[in-house]
């Protein structure tokens, strides 16, 4: 959704509508296009604004393309020839371009010979609302809705009438509602007190913005009515913010769970303290990056593919660690801690030297960016929603593996009584490898998910290792459910505390809480009871 603050001169708008009408029978003249673009290429932004209007009224069918490219900063001009081109790919030193007039391929041009036609946020706003107006006439309902939503708060006098017509011909109720609100906001700005009645109860942030500014109106009646309406809205919002905090908490929790669940297996079930766990997460994240490098332009597909890939890579790395280090330290968990710490140092520096010390870009596919609108006031960010779901799925799968599969059975057998299990023909070593691979693989999955939330860089792992241990210990070592509950609850606690304690303090409080909790229940939330548990 786009919010506009550009105030379009009325003249221009009339021309715009005129232009829309004319567009059909507009005549193509070669000179005209060049001239239009010439006028765009001027140092002053006002001149540019006029040029944009000119382009729209020209009714030239390339204008839509031009405006889009201008918006994307891809409409550029060759310094020497003065030729206007559209840049297709603007990374690297030489850029592939097409001619802006003929729209035919114009080969490659050196970055340094090209002059971009810069725009600023004001122009960007102007362009967007212009395009929005155009979009109101498209056939796709969703586009029209978005367009209508964009117009909220950016309607001014000359637009009223044409919008009225639009509403009249609009068959989609939602679009009509939005446009009505847009007009109401406009009327409110004009000081029309009745508009408030129409806006009352809407949770839309731009409506609230309008009402807020209305409270500062010099007409006391309007001011009071506005604040009354606002108070009513705030009431509605309170529930929202409660839900929002809960969602924040859960999503943070899901991240913790993802990061910790692998550890819950290697550490909890096998009793192996793997300080390189964080780096396994990192590997998963880098796999996602690599995938996106392999499949340029298809971030979504790459992401999906990197789920198995990430698992595999991390699992293999895990096996390597298990074989090369951990197996020699069987039954010496504290030594394992130290050795794997060494491994983590090596892995980090490896990434730094082999790939780069800089963070890597991981693109979010469209279906993961933006947010899911529950109501006008509450929307859930998609990427976190996906991660939350992903975490639960991973957890469920793990439960299945541990509970239902042969591997799970063998793992439990081996961890409870190695010798016995051996004598029953279970190949303990193999089980160790498998278990460790599983745990590491899950860490890889966490990495894939995290790549959608945070940096993909050499330090990624370090930022999560401690939290992971906290979660596992808090939940009770060796208990997957514990890890889930612990992760989610810690997440929620943190987010509930944050607003009044601040991010740092909230984290500290949570840590202290964990410490004290461990004093009360030395074996975590869900300890294993009975004589076995006696040290």
């Amino acid at each position: 959704m786009w919010m506009i603050r550009a105030f379009l001169p009325g003249v221009w708008l009339l021309c715009l509508l005129l232009g829309l009408a004319l567009m059909a029978q507009a005549q193509e003249e070669t000179g005209q296009g060049q001239a239009l673009l010439e006028s765009l290429d001027s140092p002053s932004y006002d001149a540019k604004a006029e040029a944009i209007e000119a382009i729209i009224v020209s009714g030239d069918e390339r204008s839509r393309r031009w405006l889009d490219e201008l918006l994307g900063g891809k409409l550029q001009r060759h310094k020497d020839t003065g030729r206007f081109v559209i840049v297709l790919e603007n990374r690297g030193r030489n850029w592939p371009v097409i001619d802006a007039l003929t729209l035919e391929d114009a080969g490659e041009m050196s970055r340094r010979d090209l002059d971009g036609i810069g725009i600023n946020n004001a122009l960007r706003g102007q362009l967007q609302s212009a395009l929005a107006m155009l979009d109101l006439y498209t056939d796709d309902v969703d586009d029209r809705r978005d367009a209508a939503r964009e117009l909220l708060g950016s309607v001014d006098a000359p637009m009223v009438e044409p919008l009225g017509e639009v509403i009249a011909n609009e068959d989609d109720a939602e679009v009509r509602r939005l446009l009505d609100q847009a007009l109401a906001i406009h009327r409110l700005d004009e000081g029309d007190i009745d508009a408030i009645a129409e806006l009352a109860g809407s949770l839309n942030s731009r409506v609230r913005a309008a009402l807020n500014s209305a409270t500062r109106s010099d007409d006391p009646l309007v001011a009071d009515a506005a604040s009354a309406a606002l108070a009513d809205i705030e009431q509605k919002l309170r529930l929202n913010s409660g839900l929002e905090t809960l969602y924040f908490g859960l999503s943070l929790g899901s991240v913790l769970v993802l990061a910790a669940i692998g550890l819950a297996i290697t550490f909890g079930v096998m009793g192996v303290i793997n300080m390189a766990h964080g780096e396994l997460i990192m590997l998963g994240a880098y796999t996602t990056w690599a995938m996106q490098q392999l499949l340029p332009g298809q971030p979504g597909l790459a992401l999906v593919l990197s789920i198995p890939a990430g698992f595999l890579v991390a699992a293999l790395a895990g096996i390597a660690i298990e074989r090369s280090v951990i197996q020699f330290l069987k039954g010496r968990p504290l030594e394992t801690l130290l050795a794997t710490f060494g491994v983590s140092l090596i892995l980090q520096q490896l990434v730094r030297t082999v790939i780069s010390p800089q963070n890597r870009t991981v693109v979010s596919p469209d279906w993961m960016s933006g947010s899911l609108m529950i109501n006008e006031g509450l929307s859930l960010t998609l990427n976190r929603l996906f991660v939350l779901g992903f975490a639960l799925v991973v957890f469920a799968c793990l439960m299945l593996v541990m509970r239902r599969t042969r591997l799970g059975l063998e793992v439990r057998a081996v961890t409870q009584n190695r010798a016995m299990a051996r004598s029953m023909g279970i190949r303990a070593t193999r089980v160790d490898i498998m278990t460790f691979a599983l745990g590491s693989g899950v860490a890889g999955l966490a990495g894939v998910a995290l790549s959608q939330l945070t940096n993909v860089g050499p330090n990624l792992g370090q930022n999560y290792i401690i939290d992971s241990f906290m979660v596992v210990v808090f939940g009770g070592v060796g208990n997957l459910w514990g890890t889930l509950v612990a992760g989610l609850s810690l997440g929620v606690i943190n987010q509930v505390l944050e607003p009044w304690a601040g991010a740092v303090l909230a984290k500290i409080i949570v840590l202290v809480f964990i410490i004290l909790f461990i004093q009360k229940r030395p074996r975590g939330l869900f300890p294993q009871k009975g004589r076995a548990a006696e040290g």
């Binding site: 946020n121 500014s213 943070l252 520096q349 939330l453 945070t454």
Partner: protein, 435 residues
């Protein structure tokens, strides 16, 4: 390792000629001039600092290609302080006392500079510090080639106030001294321009903060009060990716609530999917997209040096470029690498910067810089939307802070004082007793 290549183009020559009297290419029989490089190559700061190390190495290579300095070759002495602050002090001591380098280019974080400062002063070394910082410091032995607050923060805020019409301000930063000081200065500055208290929201977050949900939604709420709102971000490197992602996903975009960042440059953007960020702002003294020949030459040199076609340049790199040239200039001027001689010689030295102007070393060991405001583009570059008509001289002591308002710094004889109090007319504090 990076392919080292002797490289030179007519343009490049032109630049060096601007700065250099014709460098007489003498074979260096004398032992080389040692240039210390003190940038973290591991640990958390490696992300930002490694490129700076490479930059200096490249500059040294180019200098040597032109016959070195005073007929002697330059030799880089690289150490890794590993993002560990005490280690910075130790390594600085190693460079100065053991390796006996003639100059040090290094440091990124304020704390690392603070940790090195006493060492450099004690052993009377030269340190060129290339990163924008909080000011409130002026050392006889340190040259600040990065921006002081008045060369970045204030102009950026001016731009938002006057050109964008912002009325409400969110000052978001990582909880350390640079954001704290900057925000303090801005807070004072905004209030002095009639911004009400309730129209300013300040929030601090820990290093590497990755969960921005709450804060971003607060910002959103803060912005929905019917006044144009902007975020002034002094958020430190690593925390930016999740921050911008959250912004994008919660639907806050530039046309709506613009974010102007002081520590997000091209280097940081390489780690971010910039599509949702288009239009957000950054204030620097240099952008890779600057359209000058010097810049294109520098970029090409850099690309060839790193052998990476996608390699980017950024503001601190330019700062090193300027600092290095200033130092070579001063050495030529003084005819020696002796620290005291160079210290005197360098004040007033003027070299071209990459943005088509010149940078001069001020008596307070800060330099003149243009201030550019750029909007993020989808290709991880900035399109420059505004710049100061002329260059701005760096202020060691902010005019907007209690206590430092009356302080000035002037290292020329006879004053030679880093914090001269114009009211009391005395030179207070540390540098007083450093002879």
């Amino acid at each position: 390792m990076i392919p080292s290549n002797v490289y030179r183009t007519p343009r490049w020559l032109a630049v060096s000629l601007l700065s250099a009297a014709v460098a007489t290419p003498v074979l260096a029989q004398e032992d080389p001039i040692k240039v210390g490089i003190l940038h973290s190559l591991s640990g958390t700061m490696a992300i930002s600092e490694t490129v700076l190390k490479d930059t200096v190495e490249m500059l040294i290579e180019q200098q040597n290609a032109e016959g070195g300095l005073l007929g002697r070759q330059l030799e880089a002495v690289v150490v890794d302080p590993a993002s560990d602050w005490p280690l910075f002090a130790e390594k600085a001591r190693e460079l100065l006392a053991q390796e006996e380098v003639d100059v040090i280019f290094g440091n990124w974080t304020s704390v690392s500079r603070k940790s090195v400062l006493p060492v450099v002063e004690e052993l009377n070394g030269l340190l060129f510090y290339p990163v924008q910082y909080e000011g409130e410091e002026s050392s006889e032995n340190v040259f600040y080639t990065g921006a002081a607050p008045n060369q970045q923060a204030i102009p950026a805020v001016n731009y938002l106030m006057n050109n964008v019409g912002v009325e409400r301000w969110v000052l978001a930063g990582t909880d350390y001294v640079y954001p704290r000081t900057t925000n303090k200065i801005l807070d004072a500055y905004l209030k002095s321009h009639g911004v009400a208290d309730e129209d300013i929201m300040i929030s601090y977050t820990p290093f590497g903060h990755s969960d921005w949900q709450n804060i971003v939604s607060d910002i959103k709420e803060f912005g929905s009060q019917g006044k144009k709102t902007a975020v002034v971000s002094t958020i430190n490197g690593d925390a930016n990716v999740p921050f911008y992602r959250e912004l994008g996903n919660q639907g806050i975009n530039a046309a709506d609530i613009p974010v102007v960042a002081f520590s997000v440059g091209e280097e940081e953007l390489t780690g971010i999917d910039t599509a949702p960020l288009v239009g957000h702002l950054a204030a620097w003294n240099y952008f890779m997209s600057v359209d000058t020949d010097e810049n294109y030459d520098f970029i090409d040199a850099w690309i060839e040096y790193t052998g990476d076609d996608m390699a980017v340049t950024n503001d601190p790199m330019e700062a090193h470029y300027i600092g290095f040239n200033m130092w070579t200039e001063a050495v030529k001027k003084a005819g020696t690498t002796d620290v005291d001689a160079v210290k005197d010689a360098i004040i007033g030295v003027t070299v071209p910067n990459l943005t088509g102007g010149y940078a001069a070393m001020m008596p307070n060991h800060h330099i003149t810089k243009p201030v550019l405001i750029g909007e993020i583009q989808d290709n991880g570059q900035f399109s420059i939307v505004w710049e100061t008509p002329s260059t701005v001289a760096g202020d060691a002591w902010s005019d907007y802070l209690e206590g430092s308002r009356d302080l000035i710094s002037d290292w020329r004889k006879p004053m030679e004082c880093g914090n001269y109090n114009v009211v009391e007319g005395s030179c207070g504090g540390s540098e007083a007793e450093v002879e």
